[in-house]
């Protein structure tokens, strides 16, 4: 049986076990009534039936390919087995190709190997099906035998459920570990080919020129400084837009606006936050960038059609709602007594805001700005669509620059072997990105939490 039909069979048996056990438990007629409800016993039986079988299926899918491979290798004729490992590898590849294409090979030796392989595969499948069936039936028997007064089925089921809950909350940890490991391993492989120093401090970035193996290390074409600088430039432009506008929006909405206006303005800001970044990218590339270029042309400036300015401005607008909602929370948390005190001393409202509320809320605002910066650095689609590919070492916002995220995307969407330094470089860049944003996030979360505690 194929894995899918086997899975369906196990699921069906589990369901059958549930209903059978439910009937038994409902009609139980011992000296004392059962301690748990029928569905507790039924669930326990279903778990006994399906869980071990599914576990076995999982183990089998992991082991099976290796076992079959071994079957071929032990059957290899001696004149081939005695040759170098490369020849054997080539030979095995041929066998696998024949198996996959389901054709008959002219070479009788290969054909015999294919036949042996298919026989082994068939046997393995029969054995798997049989063992799964035995486990299922055994599970049903065990489950049914547990419908007794002395068995606390509810406690058992709840314990299992709790284990499941713990497992699910562990997914967050597993994801983080997965990110760190996957990025780190590939980055280490990259740093074996290119030195860390060249990567961190080199000023030329041209991964295209270093395809030939001999020149990877010496060419120094993996210098990431232009990318870091480009990322910082675009993020800085974005922050120049987002921080003043976002902060003023938050101040106006929380201190001046009437409740009615707030009720209208907040959803509009949420709309701005909910627009997908690819839409912003389209707008930046097709509307804002040509507009800036034309305006620049009118006043005699030469502006690149993929200028950092266009990407930065649009990214800034994207981050406005983020800054404003974070600042809004922080400003609201400033105690009313501080406002009242300042106003009672004769300060105007704007003086109260500038001299009392903002200084009091500053740590929280800084935390919010850091979070916003981490978002700007990690933002991908706007820069992929609106910023350039050329790694220019410049801080002129009117020229085209490239960023870390743009390079990750371009390096990984091409067609090359997975372990070329070009693809591995993307993971090294990913590692830098992850570390930077992690660093910013941790500081920001820490600052915000400290600040909250101060006024609670």
């Amino acid at each position: 049986m194929t894995t899918t039909s086997l899975f369906l069979m196990v699921a069906g048996l589990g369901l059958f076990a549930f209903f059978l056990s439910f009937q038994r438990a409902a009609r139980y007629s011992g000296p004392k009534r059962l301690r748990s409800l029928p569905h507790h016993y039924a669930s326990l039986t279903a778990v006994w039936t399906a869980f071990p079988a599914l576990l076995l299926m999982m183990v089998w899918t992991v082991i099976e390919p290796g076992y079959l491979q071994q079957q071929i290798e032990t059957n290899l004729p001696t004149e081939i087995a005695s040759q170098s490992s490369e020849v054997i590898g080539l030979y095995l590849n041929k066998v696998h190709l024949t198996i996959e294409s389901q054709t008959v090979d002219a070479d009788p030796v290969i054909q015999s190997l294919v036949v042996a392989y298919e026989k082994a595969a068939l046997n393995s499948r029969y054995l798997n099906t049989a063992m799964v069936l035995v486990l299922c039936l055994g599970g049903i028997a065990v489950g049914l035998s547990k419908i007794l007064f002395k068995v606390h089925a509810r406690v058992g089921i709840e314990r299992l459920l709790k284990a499941f809950l713990i497992l699910c909350s562990g997914v967050a940890i597993v994801t983080t570990i997965g990110i760190v490991l996957s990025v780190l391993f590939e980055a280490i492989r990259f740093f074996n080919a290119v030195s860390v120093f060249d990567f961190m401090f080199g000023t030329t970035w041209s991964p295209q020129t270093s395809i030939r193996v001999g020149q990877v290390g010496s060419s120094g074409s993996f210098g990431a400084v232009p990318l870091f600088l480009g990322t910082m430039l675009i993020s800085l432009i974005a922050m120049f837009i987002a921080v003043p506008v976002g902060l003023m929006t938050a101040i106006y909405l929380s201190e001046y606006a009437s409740p009615k206006f707030r009720l209208m303005a907040k959803p509009a800001l949420e709309v701005l936050a909910g627009i997908p970044t690819v839409v912003y990218g389209f707008f930046a590339a097709l509307t804002v960038a040509p507009f800036i270029r034309d305006v620049g042309g009118l006043i005699g400036l030469s502006v690149a059609s993929e200028s950092a300015l266009a990407a930065g401005i649009v990214m800034g607008v994207m981050i406005i709602p983020f800054v404003s909602s974070l600042s809004d929370d922080v400003i609201k948390a400033v105690p009313q007594t501080m406002r009242d005190g300042s106003l009672a001393l004769g300060a105007t409202q704007s003086e109260t805001i500038k001299k009392v509320i903002i200084p009091a809320a500053l740590p929280g605002i800084v935390g919010g700005v850091l979070l916003a910066a981490s978002r700007a650095i990690g933002e991908t689609m706007i820069v992929v669509m609106a910023a350039g590919l050329a790694a220019n070492l410049t801080v002129n916002p009117l020229e085209a620059v490239t960023t870390v995220t743009v390079q990750i995307v371009t390096l990984l969407t091409g067609d090359q072997a997975f372990d070329s330094p070009k693809t591995l470089a993307a993971f090294a860049l990913g590692l830098m990105l992850f570390i930077t944003t992690l660093f910013l996030n941790i500081i920001a979360l820490h600052v915000v939490r400290r600040y909250r505690e101060q006024y609670e």
């Binding site: 997914v171 940890i173 990110i179 303005a265 509009a268 389209f282 097709l286």
Partner: protein, 423 residues
């Protein structure tokens, strides 16, 4: 001068400053609105041309001789015979009859380029639906024009892609009212194509559907389970703290890093197929998980403790209390969070680029293992295309995507208000 006078002297200036500050605040709020309006207006105007398509009325000869079929009317026409017809040739022939004055080879070529390369397929479709059309009477049919003609006719602007001879052809067609614009249904019923006039978003829509289905199936149960554990059962210890730090952190990790994770773990380590909605859905569910966990926790926390205490007091176990009483009460809040998370996942592009969902795929995906692309990636792909007509298609796809997001968010908001009112 006493203090009162000093204060009074500065008062005018201070009030002016107050007014200015308020004005800055208003300007900041307004600038956000203005940008939003410009963005929506710009995209809507760019999208409009994509919803209509230019068609040209041609009289296609349908006699058996021209179709290269057996002239014996008793011989029935089977599918093989229909497949053997040169449909593109029929279109060309109809064009030549329409414009008998065109004789030069160069001009003929320009003439042929008036029509979309898909025009032949349309005739084929009509014929296989109704073989009775074959006869001496020519078939008058509206066929799609080429995208350059389409752009020219709709915008009435001469571009470098259209030649003066073609402009004359179009003018001649117009006087005979043989050219018109019609609603572009193919935009919704076709898949991606290299020809803008034949390209549609059906493949991307279904790709998005399968991807979101996987995301929902994975992230909702896992997210709710994690939220229940952290809010109801987790002891105050280091491990719990660590889990919480991880969740908060994952919420702020750039989405492209999740794409790297998907590429390294799901595709290279587990050997899952590239460009499949399964992998895309898994990556997106890892990405939306923090959103769902955080909002579910808030919803569970807001269930009144009296409810829980009543259930516990009547002898329910902790697990029963949670699953029978707390979770149903928290469900609207949980679902609101889930919908918002799904909306985020629907608009996400970058991680899907990493796992190869950027391929040019013509087939409509029929399951989670087929190669597919999704709406935002389709937007990205089309926005890169040089043909002008693709810009309109991109903008139209954006409108469709925004419509979906609006509906999802509207449902979430309705659910939230309903939930709050019941409290």
């Amino acid at each position: 001068m006493n203090n009162t006078e000093i204060v009074k002297a500065g008062l005018c200036k201070r009030y002016a400053r107050e007014k200015r500050f308020q004005f800055y605040g208003k300007a900041a709020v307004m600038s956000g609105f203005v940008f939003l309006i410009i963005l929506l207006f710009d995209i809507t105007t760019k999208a409009m041309p994509a919803f209509s398509i230019t068609e040209i009325l041609l009289d296609i000869p349908m006699d058996r001789g021209t179709l290269n079929l057996s002239t014996d009317t008793r011989v029935s026409i089977d599918d093989a015979a229909l497949a053997g017809i040169d449909y593109a040739g029929l279109v060309k022939k109809a064009l030549r009859t329409q414009f008998p004055e065109v004789t030069k080879r160069k001009h003929k070529k320009l003439l042929y380029r008036l029509m979309s390369s898909g025009a032949g397929f349309e005739i084929k479709r009509q014929l296989s639906n109704n073989p009775g059309l074959i006869g001496d009477k020519p078939l008058s049919i509206w066929l799609k024009a080429d995208d350059d003609v389409d752009t020219f006719y709709k915008l009435e602007r001469i571009t470098s892609r259209i030649k003066t001879e073609q402009v004359e052809f179009i003018a001649s067609l117009k006087t005979q009212s043989r050219i018109r614009t019609a609603l572009n249904w193919d935009f919704f019923t076709n898949s991606d194509s290299r020809e803008p006039e034949q390209a549609g978003i059906k493949g991307a829509l279904l790709g998005s559907f399968w991807t979101l289905l996987v995301t929902l199936m994975v992230s909702l149960p896992v997210g709710i389970a994690a939220a229940i554990y952290l809010e109801e059962f987790a002891p105050q210890n280091r491990l719990t703290d660590f889990i919480e730090i991880n969740i908060n952190n994952l919420a702020a990790v750039p989405s492209i890093v999740f794409g790297l994770l998907g590429l390294a773990v799901f595709i290279n380590f587990f050997g899952m197929p590239r460009s499949a909605p399964l992998v895309g859905g898994l990556v997106l569910s890892l990405m939306t998980l923090p959103t769902i966990i955080i909002s579910s926790r808030a919803a569970i926390k807001s269930v009144p403790p009296s409810l829980k205490e009543a259930a516990l007091g009547l002898g329910a176990s902790h697990m029963q209390t949670v699953f029978h009483h707390v979770l149903p009460q928290a469900m609207p809040g949980v679902l609101t969070g889930a919908i918002i998370g799904m909306a985020q996942a629907l608009g996400e592009t970058a991680p899907l680029l990493m796992i190869g969902m950027v391929a040019f795929i013509v087939d409509v995906p029929g399951g989670v293992l087929d190669s597919a692309t999704v709406l935002p990636v389709q937007i990205y792909l089309w926005s890169d295309s040089p043909e002008r007509a693709f810009t309109a298609l991109t903008a139209a796809t954006i409108l469709v995507l925004l419509a979906f997001l609006t509906v999802m968010n509207a449902v979430a908001i309705t659910l939230r208000t309903y939930f709050e009112r019941r409290r």
